[in-house]
Structure formats: structure tokens, C-alpha cells
């Protein structure tokens, strides 16, 4: 799962759970059945689990583009020079 996929998964999870909770409460209250509220919410949680927990292709649409290894070789990591080291040690 890529970065944007993770963000989407978290937001989708929160929105789905809240929406199912509201829907469950309203149906339960109108029908007058506490059990129905629990069942509707439980169904919503199962649906949310199936939607947001597996690593669906939907969450992998924005893969990170790493630099080629050859590109890294052209710009080598800057080496620590001896003068900098001396300055640091002299301060101490």
C-alpha cells in the first residue's frame, strides 16, 4: 500500500464506520429494535473490514518513483572532510 493509499484507507475506514453507525442508530430507533441496530452496525463493520484492510490494487495507484542506481552514482554522498571534524573537536 502506497502513501496515498494509506491515507485513503484510513479516511475511508473512519467515514464508513461513522456513516454505518448513524444509519444503524436511526433504523434501530425508528423500528424500535436495539438488536436491529447492532446487526446493521455489525454488517457495516464487516463491509468496512473487507474494504479497507486487504491491500487492494485501488490503494496502490501512486507508487513511489525511486531514482535509478546509476543516478545516485552520479551524485555521490558528500564526504565528511577532515577540517570539519577538527572544528567540531576543537569546540569541545
Amino acid at each position: 500500500m502506497d502513501w496515498q493509499g494509506q491515507k485513503a484507507a484510513e479516511q475511508l475506514m473512519q467515514i464508513m464506520l461513522v456513516v454505518f453507525a448513524i444509519a444503524a442508530f436511526i433504523t434501530g430507533y425508528i423500528v424500535g429494535s436495539f438488536e436491529l441496530m447492532i446487526y446493521v452496525y455489525a454488517g457495516g463493520v464487516v463491509l468496512t473490514v473487507l474494504t479497507t484492510i486487504p491491500n487492494w490494487p485501488f490503494f496502490n495507484r501512486h507508487p513511489l518513483k525511486w531514482l535509478d542506481p546509476s543516478e545516485a552514482e552520479k551524485h555521490p554522498k558528500p564526504q565528511v572532510t577532515s577540517s570539519v571534524l577538527k572544528k567540531k573537536t576543537s569546540k569541545k
Binding site: M1, E10, L17, A21, Y29, S33, F34, T52, I53, N55
Partner: protein, 167 residues
Amino acid sequence: MHSFGFRANALLTFSLTILALMCAIASLSDNFNSPSPTATVQILSVNRFQRKSSGDDEVGFTLDISADLQSLFTWNTKQVFAFLAAEYSTPKNSLNQVSLWDGIIPAKENAKFSIKTKNKYKFIDQGSNLRGRDFNMTLHWHVMPKTGKMFADKLVLPGFRLPESYR
């Protein structure tokens, strides 16, 4: 949210938090219910009225208890416990409560009832104060919810009087 386990954990925690919130709101919704229960109690006969060897008065009744407690039930009600108590005052105790009958009402369909019964529990006074005693029949009830706060209330039915002499 990078791994399967992390997502499962986040979902479980959040869904249970919301479930607790739903239960709390369901409990709060009980406050919108303003019940209007009715009850009547009749003493059909005084079967027994005597002084026990211990010196305490004992009464045996046959009662007709009719009540409509259907309005106590909401969508968040598991059951209602109701009990009938004789309440009176004596020189020694300002309030005596003697439970005569009780029952558990499991559903709204059973909440409207009319029964003829002998007193389920013995009506015994602490002492010998029951002759000619005025007393109230009080129907108490406890509404047991599925989640949240338990409600209790009562209905006082005044105007009962015990016989002047033992029989």
C-alpha cells in the same frame, strides 16, 4: 496504516469506540420516554389475620393486581422488575415497607396484566400494630435497560385498611 495488522487494529479500536458511543446515546434516548403506567389493587379477601407466638402480627391476603406498564418499555428496555409493597407507619417506625408480591416482566406484550394471587411473601409486622391500620399499596418498578442507566419509580395506591380484629 502501512500493514494489515495495523489497519485491523485501527479499525477494531475505532469501531468499538463508536459502538460505546451508540450505546450511550441509546441510553440517553430513554429520557425522551415519559411513561404513564396505571395500576389498581384490590383486596379480595383477608384469609388470615393473627398474632404469631413471637408477638408479631401476620396477615394473609388474596389480591387482585391489575397493571398496565407497557409505556415503560422503550427500544432499550431489557425487562422490568415490579413489586407490590404495603407501606404504613407505626409509632416505632415512620415507614414500614413489606413486599407482598413481585414479578419480572420480560417483554412489552406481558406488561399489561391482571392476576389474582395470594401474597407471595408474608405480610408480618414488627410488633402488633396492624389492627385497624391504614396503609398504602405501592407498586414499585425498576426498568432494566439493555445499555445504560436503570430507572426506578413507583405508583402509590392509598386507602387500604386492615380489619379491627384478628380472625
